[in-house]
């Protein structure tokens, strides 16, 4: 269980411009982009857009923590727009799976977490078929280690709506796994 309050520290109150924070926190933004299933080209486009917005609004947030929140919000919105532009999650899923298949080197080694490719393929497709807002909430919670209250600020919804989305998303994933008879 991650320490979800760890983001709130003294460093967050330090004065910093958006651009400075962007350059330091690209890895965190990449996690959001990767969680939404974007490839390298999309990632570059999105990060460039965010960097330009950061440059234009450099002095908008005085505190580092607020600047980071702003950058995450812009990245989240940009990712959601990108998905909307694609319109079909299924098409994106197929594209990703094809890419994976082409890049695959074949059989998994015995030490590779014992997760078989069928389970991954199943969940990969399910993940990308999820409602984009539910997916984003899962990404922020389980890949960016943010708590419900932090996510609610980013997505402009109540913490209870965040918890609902998380439950809904987890249920969909678990039920999909159960349906195929895959067990831990």
């Amino acid at each position: 269980m991650p320490d979800t309050n760890s983001h709130i520290d003294e460093d967050n109150l330090r004065e910093a411009g958006l651009l400075e924070v962007f350059l330091q926190e690209q890895d965190r933004l990449k996690r959001i982009i990767a969680g939404m299933g974007m490839g390298a080209w999309d990632a570059e486009d999105i990060l460039q857009d965010v960097s330009i917005k950061a440059l234009k609004n450099n002095d908008r947030c005085k505190e580092r923590g607020k600047a980071l929140g702003w950058l995450i919000k812009v990245t989240v919105n940009r990712c959601i727009t990108e998905h909307r532009r694609r319109k079909s999650f299924a098409a994106k899923a197929l594209e990703l799976l094809d890419r994976k298949r082409r890049g695959s080197k074949g059989v998994l080694g015995p030490d590779e977490n014992a997760v078989c490719s069928e389970e991954k393929t199943l969940l990969h497709t399910t993940l990308l078929e999820l409602d984009r807002k539910v997916l984003m909430t899962l990404v922020l919670r389980y890949f960016c280690d943010m708590n419900a209250s932090e996510i609610s600020e980013i997505l402009n919804i109540t913490p209870s709506a965040v918890r609902n989305r998380i439950s809904r998303g987890r249920e969909v994933l678990a039920k999909k796994l159960a349906k195929r008879g895959v067990r831990p």
Binding site: M1, L19, F22, L23, Q26, K30, R31, I33, A34, G35, G37, M38, G39, A40, A43, E44, D45, L47, Q48, D49, S51, I52, A54, L55, K100, N113, V115, E119, K120, L123, H124, L127, L138, V139, Y142, F143, R163, I166, S167, R170, E171, L173, A174, K175, K176, L177, A178, V182, R183, P184
Partner: protein, 175 residues
């Protein structure tokens, strides 16, 4: 009765697996799990699916890990459009230059070798490229000194080009 209880417990399992349930509710869930095979399986699915999804995310992250934006630049699509326009401009300029050079070459007593023509075209192109780069930078704050140096470099290095003339005008506008 058991069905209803399972439904109620299932609603709590996500929070339970995340450690978000109050102690009292947590104990109720644990007691139920000890006697209910179905709910134990569902909890297992919740955890296993999250593990796999996190692995998928990590794989995606590894794919984009190398992407690094160090200096903010204009949107690549816009830049591409801008450079396409510049490239088209360069081709037209080079064409006009070649035609005028051919006409010049035909004039008696005013001879220029093909190598000289090629060098002139190359210099003009370099000057235009530098001018375009400087113009892109103009949109950002705090780059006045850099711009000044760049324009002066164009004027000094490619004095006979139209880009040098443009650069002189830009230097004046910076003052």
């Amino acid at each position: 009765m058991k069905q209803i209880e399972c439904k109620e417990i299932a609603d709590l399992l996500v929070d339970y697996s995340d450690g978000q349930l109050p102690e009292e509710q947590s104990q109720i869930v644990e007691r139920h799990l000890k006697k209910c095979n179905n709910c134990r399986k569902y909890l297992g699915d919740l955890q296993q699916s999250l593990n796999i999804v996190q692995e998928i995310w990590r794989e995606n992250l590894a794919e984009i890990e190398s992407v690094e934006i160090s200096v903010p630049v204009k949107n690549r699509r816009n830049i591409n459009r801008k450079y396409a326009a510049i490239a088209a401009g360069l081709l037209i300029a080079a064409g006009i230059f070649s035609v005028s050079m051919q006409q010049t070459l035909q004039r008696p007593g005013d001879v220029m070798t093909a190598e000289q023509v090629e060098r002139k075209i190359s210099e003009s192109a370099s000057a235009v490229r530098l001018l375009a780069t400087a113009d892109l930078l103009r949109e950002y704050d705090g780059v006045k000194d850099t711009l000044n140096k760049l324009y002066k470099h164009i004027v000094a290095t490619y004095p006979d080009t139209s880009a040098a003339m443009e650069a002189k005008i830009r230097i004046k506008s910076l003052m």
